[in-house]
């Protein structure tokens, strides 16, 4: 009941952010207030785990020289809002799985990031979205890949986890499943950010530049959003969503919808969400590898995360980063790129967001 209640409340609040600015401001006010009070609702007296949420908005060549103060402020606000949105679920006594869905839903709806609305374009000018999530308390997981009409792919991944016997659904089948289970279906044009589409069309018109750098900016080419949460019950959940690799062809599937590569969660080790050059994350089974290094090798969260992202990944030629947390509320956010949109919030606390290496 708690789960449904908090989730519906958030969906209704988040839905408004798409409809109008006034509703957005109201929702923001509500959520930031919720954050500032910083109190954990302990209806059952349980408060032994340090309620924590960590998020990312993609890794890449994010540097001060490529960023205007206005744009930086936009990203900071959006990351803070995503943190506050997810954290308010946790402080109300909600579950980690609902907190990551709430945070990701906001990031999917925000056109700044390569997930949901504002996703990059495939080679043929479409938006093909992937998402996955995992509940570390029972190792249940759900994922959708290559979907084009589901407004919030992370909610479809959740429906796959909770309302089917499957883990991963792809393409039109996934869309049909989402429609049958009451998720919001949109016209593919919903995902198009008009300024970004103009860039795409202009580039297509130019000859000889089809292999040039992404018009979306290099940090968007492999952009992803992710969230990992620890709730007051000690349950860890992780979630990842993406618009995929820009200019991708041939139904390419990256690491984001792959349990073990882009997303993994196990209460006794950690939760992980990845962002970066997906092929390398699949080959290293990055998210599961960090969990396994803790489980079998006795490494700390930071040691395991650093080992995979700062050593194994560049050794193979890949780049990107991850966010992770463990049951003690430790967080790790290593990346081997110039920057990574990221942030965290702890109980009681204020959202901290970062973009660059320093």
């Amino acid at each position: 009941m708690q789960k449904n209640f908090s989730f519906k409340l958030l969906r209704s609040a988040l839905g408004n952010t798409v409809v109008g600015g006034l509703a957005l401001i109201l929702a923001q006010g509500f959520l930031i207030m919720g954050c500032e009070t910083g109190k954990v609702a302990t209806t059952d007296g349980a408060d032994s785990y340090p309620v924590t949420l960590v998020i990312h908005g993609g890794a890449g060549t994010i540097s001060r020289k490529n960023m205007t103060p206005e744009r930086e402020q936009e990203y900071r606000k959006a990351l803070q809002h995503a943190l506050d949105t997810g954290f308010s679920v946790l402080t109300k006594g909600g579950k980690s799985i609902d907190a990551v869905i709430a945070a990701i839903t906001y990031l999917e709806d925000c056109p700044l990031f390569n997930a949901g609305k504002g996703s990059v374009f495939t080679y043929s000018g479409r938006n093909e979205l992937d998402a996955s999530l995992m509940d570390g308390s029972n190792l249940k997981a759900g994922a959708v890949a290559g979907v084009t009409t589901i407004k919030n792919p992370i909610q479809a991944a959740h429906a796959v986890m909770t309302q089917s016997e499957h883990v991963m659904l792809a393409g039109r089948g996934a869309e049909q499943f989402a429609a049958e289970h009451g998720l919001t279906i949109v016209d593919p044009s919903y995902f198009v950010d008009s300024a970004r589409y103009e860039q795409f069309i202009n580039r297509r018109k130019q000859q000889g530049t089809k292999d040039a750098a992404s018009p979306d900016g290099p940090e968007k080419k492999f952009g992803t959003v992710g969230a990992v949460a620890l709730d007051q019950y000690g349950n860890i959940a992780a979630a990842t969503s993406t618009g995929g690799m820009s200019d991708k062809r041939f139904g390419r599937v990256g690491d984001s919808p792959i349990i073990g590569a882009g997303t993994y969660a196990r209460n006794t080790t950690c939760g992980v969400s990845a962002t970066g050059w997906g092929e390398y994350f699949i080959r290293l089974a990055v998210a599961h590898d960090i969990s396994a290094m803790m489980e079998y090798g006795g490494l700390s969260l930071q040691e395991a995360a650093d080992s995979v992202i700062m050593k194994k990944l560049p050794a193979l030629g890949g780049d990107g980063g991850i966010i992770a947390l463990d049951q003690k509320g430790n967080i790790a956010m290593p990346f081997n790129t110039e920057g990574m949109y990221r942030g965290y919030i702890r109980s009681p606390g204020k959202a901290e967001v970062f973009m660059y290496k320093d």
Copy 2:
């Protein structure tokens, strides 16, 4: 050069098996002779690794009481032929990746198994195929998911690995990629085994039995084929191919095309191919987990394989099995079902095949 030569030789031999019985008999004679000589071609004098091939043809309720002597003989012959086919690549000095492709290509072409021709039907009466493979020497990997027109999905997975920057392609995009790269494209009707299709149609006509046990026999519902090889250079490769879960809907993707779940290979640990209830294999990242238990926990191949298949998997409610080998040529073939079609061959050696627990 060696790679291309041996692969072409095998492709031409295997291609004939589809065309006519005479060619099949000739090819069989050639390959079995190749096996019986049992000598490793040591053009460069290298023979320090015990050349080994292990395969599976699916796990499930395979028991003597459900099996006729004739049908048992068919399965034994097919498994032996697959082993001989792959092993002849190794004994000619070929690479493990080409050996597993050769073995899987034969199993895909053989209608007895749930992969390639003879695959089970989806809910809507289609054959949707998945395959993946991984080279343990460099962690390169390739996979295709949900394809309906590629005669040998394992060869498409290999093309993805070697001729694209991607690891996984899905659906029509994967089919387009395969066609552009010269793989054999067939009409979807090619995969239909007529006797099996009649069963499917009869069942669809009957009311109220749509959730009954699979007409394909319970061992086919989650059937898969797989191969893992160690070549004379010490390189391990693993490959898996499947027709998926019978009656599957909504574009369901199982573990077979997921690197880390159904397939994994790393020279310093092991190669693994899985078969069983795919959702559980994804949630446990079974193939990568076995590798990680060896790498970080210091377990032997058998200990790691048994721990995952005989303890973790049933604890979660899943069933199935895996085949695996390490660089010393140790093999493991644990399963927690009634039976698993499986076998291995070592240098110099005779193919050994098994079906039941004893």
